[in-house]
């Protein structure tokens, strides 16, 4: 683990979990409005991972994924990624637009838009939760979608950030509609300069909240 990853102690991970819970609540509201039915969301885990561990977290370097990519601008700059397990993407389309898709390699335009929108909703919700708790203002750009190997997605993002290895914040979210459970993993990969800012903000918030 790098120095930054170690900076996250249990208190800070609790704060991160709180950000996750607030974000998931907001995302559930947005999503329920979009689909016109009640969808619940909960955070199943939060982690701070070195980027070379992300592929293993997702199931391996050649794991098939649907990945939504968004640039992040503001006080923290970097990239947000939302990964969905590829074998459940067809069902996710069903949940989002009411039409299940059979072949994740040949998603319809509507299906692709729905997956991108889902990534965008989650990212927007987590970024605004970061703003509410940490006072860090950020917005995300237009989402792009890739259906590919986990490592190829990471490779591309590391090139974009011009980094060989960095640290990412991970919030894994579960969506529940009736008895159907689907998951998506949100990753925030800050640029090198932004990472320090993010950790400082965390330390400050924990310090101020004291025993709260």
């Amino acid at each position: 683990m790098g120095q930054e990853a170690e900076l996250f102690n249990d208190f800070q991970l609790d704060a991160l979990k709180e950000i996750g819970n607030i974000g998931a609540g907001n995302a559930a509201t947005a999503l329920s409005q979009m689909v016109g039915r009640r969808v619940d969301m909960s955070v199943t885990q939060v982690q701070v991972l070195k980027t070379d561990r992300i592929a293993a977290f997702l199931g391996g370097m050649e794991q098939n994924v649907a990945a939504v990519h968004m640039p992040v601008y503001g006080e923290i700059c970097g990239v947000a990624l939302v990964f969905f397990p590829l074998e459940r993407v067809g069902e996710l389309c069903g949940m989002l637009v009411g039409k299940r898709e059979d072949d994740p390699f040949r998603l319809s335009e509507m299906g692709q838009s729905a997956i991108k929108e889902m990534g965008s909703i989650l990212t927007g919700a987590y970024l605004s939760a970061l703003f509410r708790l940490m006072n860090l203002q950020m917005i995300h750009g237009v989402p792009g979608l890739a259906i590919d190997m986990a490592q190829a997605v990471l490779d591309t993002v590391l090139v974009e950030l011009e980094q060989k290895e960095e640290v990412a914040i991970v919030i894994e979210t579960q969506f529940l509609e009736n008895d159907k459970k689907l998951t998506g993993s949100f990753f925030l990969l800050p640029e090198t300069g932004s990472l320090r800012k993010l950790f400082n903000a965390f330390s400050k918030t924990i310090g101020l909240s004291g025993n709260g």
């Binding site: 070379d52 592929a55 370097m61 050649e62 098939n64 990519h69 640039p71 390699f105 750009g141 237009v142 989402p143 792009g144 979608l145 890739a146 259906i147 590919d148 190997m149 986990a150 490592q151 190829a152 997605v153 990471l154 490779d155 591309t156 993002v157 590391l158 090139v159 974009e160 011009e162 060989k164 290895e165």
Partner: protein, 162 residues
């Protein structure tokens, strides 16, 4: 992955000999470059990340940039017994996976990586005897030092060979 396979990570340079294999998993906009001398069955692979080390405060590791990685790779292969003047190159990767990615320059980074690799190999006088570059799909590259063959794996596609 078996015992004779070695993974070449991002920005790494690795040299090997028959019967070993070198692998780069999930090349996105990165470019995998192999150099091979068929007679001595000696070669190596670089996993290049960016086109140029110029204007960088810190041009390390050397394997990160096309302009610095390939000279080192050629020298390392020669040191391991490969004949410098007989080296042949194969290149894989340089995809543009997210079409929405903002581009602050004329060409996507994957294609700029490929162009920089070609230019550097040209300067070094090493011919490119096989390539599969560009497009929008990630690739895993497996280099077999037994015969110099490169296998390319892509999601939901049969394996291809260079």
């Amino acid at each position: 992955m078996d015992d004779d396979s070695q993974v070449v990570g991002i920005a790494e340079i690795t040299v090997a000999q028959s019967p070993q294999r070198l692998m780069a998993y999930g090349l996105g906009s990165c470019v995998g470059v192999t150099l091979y001398d068929v007679k001595t069955k000696t070669g190596g692979m670089a996993h290049v990340m960016l086109p140029s080390s110029r204007l960088r405060p810190l041009a390390t590791p050397l394997g990160k940039y096309a302009d610095t990685a390939l000279g080192v790779l050629a020298a390392e292969v020669e040191k391991a017994g490969g004949r410098r003047e007989k080296l042949e190159a194969k290149i894989v990767g340089g995809a543009n996976m997210f079409e929405g990615l903002p581009q602050n320059v004329a060409a996507p980074i994957g294609l700029r990586n490929v162009a920089a690799v070609r230019q550097k190999l040209g300067e070094l006088g090493i011919p490119i005897v096989g390539e599969q570059v560009g497009g929008n799909r990630g690739r895993t590259m497996i280099f077999n030092l037994e015969d110099g063959r490169v296998e390319i794996r892509m999601l939901n596609q049969p394996a291809q060979y260079l």
